[in-house]
Amino acid sequence: MISRFNVRSAALTLVAPVLAIVLAVGITTVVLLVSGDEPLETFGYMVDYGFQPRTMVLTLNLATTYYFSALAVAIGFRMNLFNIGVDGQYRLAALIAAAVGGAVTLPAPLHVTLTVLVAVLVGACWAGLAGLLKATRGVSEVISTIMLNVIATGLGAWLLHTDRLAVAVSGSNNIGTKPIGPSGQVPGLHLIAGTEVKVYGFVVVAALAGIGFHFMLNSTRFGFDLRATGRSESAAVASGVNVKKMIVGTMVLSGAVAGLVGMPQLLGASYSYSLDFPTGLGFTGIAIALLGRNNPLGIAFGALLWSFLTNSASILDVHQISKEIVIIMQGVIVLSVVVAYELVRRYRKSAEQRRVGQELAATAEPVKG
């Protein structure tokens, strides 16, 4: 009986994203037809390109970055906390970690650990500010994290100056932190055959973070309190959860993971935080967390899908097909996935009530008859 429940619920869980993707492909087809591009050909380009070994590595690398971001958002979401500040948290974290990592030379594992630790701490503190504001003054975390994003931008710009954390690169109009030496770099992995390009070593960390997230939520008291608060704050309070502590703790944890967002790029590719360090990943994370339903496995698929689409923009551009198609697809997927999840949730709830009623009536029958 239990296993039947689980198989059904697993199937239902898959229905929503599949529906959303089908809908997205449908709407994109219409858009392509209107704009005069051949839909089949377009999707063909995307798929062909997406499954080349080199592109697969690129997809995996970008997805690694997305994964941390979505995970950070999901931690908050699980407690009904909307951490919009992942963007500011990771940027500030990456900048300061890059400066620290570039300033020291240590044995390899220690060097990397120090850099990552700094990033995690900065992210945690920055998000923790929003948590404290909410717990002590009742400031909505939505507002405070948005403001902290802006402050992080200003602070980052101030710090990223040749008088402070940045060094000028000769002959370049770019400035960045002092590059992190070889001992502080994370080597890539040859995971996919047929290409020289390496997968970020951080993909392993991302996988571990996902497992840790799952474990934390489902196997620890902290995770239970977190989920309980997210499902019903009033019930959590009555059960003895200290919601204020949970708010700060959850924001700190979310920010700590946000601190990791910039690490694959910093320690696996650029080794320095410069003017062109990627931005906006925190917002992408929100979309992916929605897509993956705040579930670590779901987020992994969401991140891969999102990354695949983002990367396929390049090939569309080459074929003179407007690459905004990709943004349309991503937007439609998020919107329809939210709707589809809600429909599935309602259906599942009423189906379960019906099922419980039927099974109870069925067992009651022989007693009477």
Partner: protein
């Protein structure tokens, strides 16, 4: 169709991979130099152009690059594929853009903006037979990389001098788009030029945004607010180095009955008709000339690797005289220009303090 496409792409990728591995050794520089195996064909060359964020139509330096490209296309009968960066993207994405152009048979490949520095350095090594041009950066070096650089500070010196000469209130302003070292070069030259004329002149400086927020290059409202503040604060000439935000500076100048100075293109020609009359001059940064010259060199098989500096001497930067508003001081400005060319005046390229 799809299958063909795939096979072609696969073949190119394979060839690219082979080339990469074949040239993976340290001695790849010799074989790449000159490269007799693939003589450049001027007629029907396939040009790849990768823009920075904004792309064609940004009324700023992406557009200037596009003008150079257009001129070359008509003149040499070339075709082009123009790709554009997305906001907030990673270096890997920029790299992939260049790589797709190179694998797609585009040669030469032009990258606009300093953010392409590392990607060009990397991809140029993978495709030694493809010529790369990189605008605004000379950190990326290679036998097949031509770095196109500009002495923005020299041009800015001249318009700074013009501003000082034209200012009646002895007070001028500078609006920078985003606070990056590149724009600081404009500011440094401008301030030096103005102080050269009037050492006690008051200069207000404002950058619209700080990185990583690059919206300051594309937000006329911010430009307008900043310039309004300067005019209220007593300035009567404002120089804008803010790309797409410059329009707002012109609007504010018009409203304040004051003057403005354009940037990159001759904005007395390109700006909105209603504000053209406030633009006394523009600091010309001739990205179009640089791009065109590079393509011309490619057509005649005479591309040189390494840096080419487009300064006052070669006419890579200059000031414009459209509208005749600086005719009265033209002699003075030309004299300064000669002094800079001769080396008598050294223009700083960094702001002090």
């Amino acid at each position: 169709m799809r299958r063909d496409q795939f096979l072609r792409l696969a073949a190119v990728v394979l060839a690219g991979a082979l080339a990469t591995s074949a040239c993976g050794g340290a001695e790849n520089t010799d074989s790449a130099k000159g490269d007799p195996s693939q003589p450049a064909k001027p007629q029907g060359a396939k040009i790849g152009l990768a823009y920075d964020i904004g792309g064609r139509g940004d009324q700023s330096f992406n557009d200037a690059a596009a003008r150079g490209l257009d001129q070359a296309k008509t003149e040499f009968g070339a075709t082009a594929n123009e790709l554009e960066a997305s906001p907030g993207e990673t270096e890997a994405q920029k790299e992939e853009r260049l790589r797709l152009l190179a694998t797609g048979g585009f040669n030469p490949v032009i990258a606009v903006g300093f953010a392409y520095s590392k990607p060009v350095a990397k991809v140029a090594q993978e495709f030694p037979n493809v010529k790369f041009a990189l605008v605004d950066d000379e950190a990326a070096k290679g036998p097949n990389i031509s770095n196109l650089l500009f002495a923005e500070h020299e041009g800015s010196f001249l318009v700074g001098a013009a501003a000082a000469l034209k200012s009646k209130k002895n007070s001028i302003g500078f609006v920078g788009g985003v606070q990056v070292p590149l724009i600081a070069k404009f500011e440094a030259g401008f301030a030096a030029g103005a102080k050269h004329i009037k050492p006690d002149i008051k200069i207000q400086t404002k950058y619209l945004t700080q990185p990583p927020d690059f919206s300051g290059f594309n937000d006329p409202a911010k430009g307008k607010t900043a310039a309004e503040g300067m005019f209220d604060g007593g300035a009567d000439v404002v120089y804008q180095a803010a790309g797409g935000s410059g329009g707002g500076v012109f609007t504010a100048a018009k409203a304040a009955n004051a003057f403005a100075i354009g940037v990159d293109s001759d904005q007395a020609l390109t700006a909105d008709a209603s504000v053209k009359d406030v633009i006394i001059t523009s600091m010309l940064k001739k990205v179009d000339v640089a791009v065109y010259t590079f393509l011309k060199g490619f057509a005649s098989n005479s591309v040189t690797a390494g840096s080419t500096i487009y300064d006052l001497k070669v006419g890579g930067v200059d000031y414009s005289v459209t509208g005749g508003k600086v005719d009265d001081i033209k002699a003075q400005l030309d004299e300064l220009k000669q002094k800079i060319i001769s080396g008598e005046i050294k223009v700083p390229d960094k702001t002090t303090g």
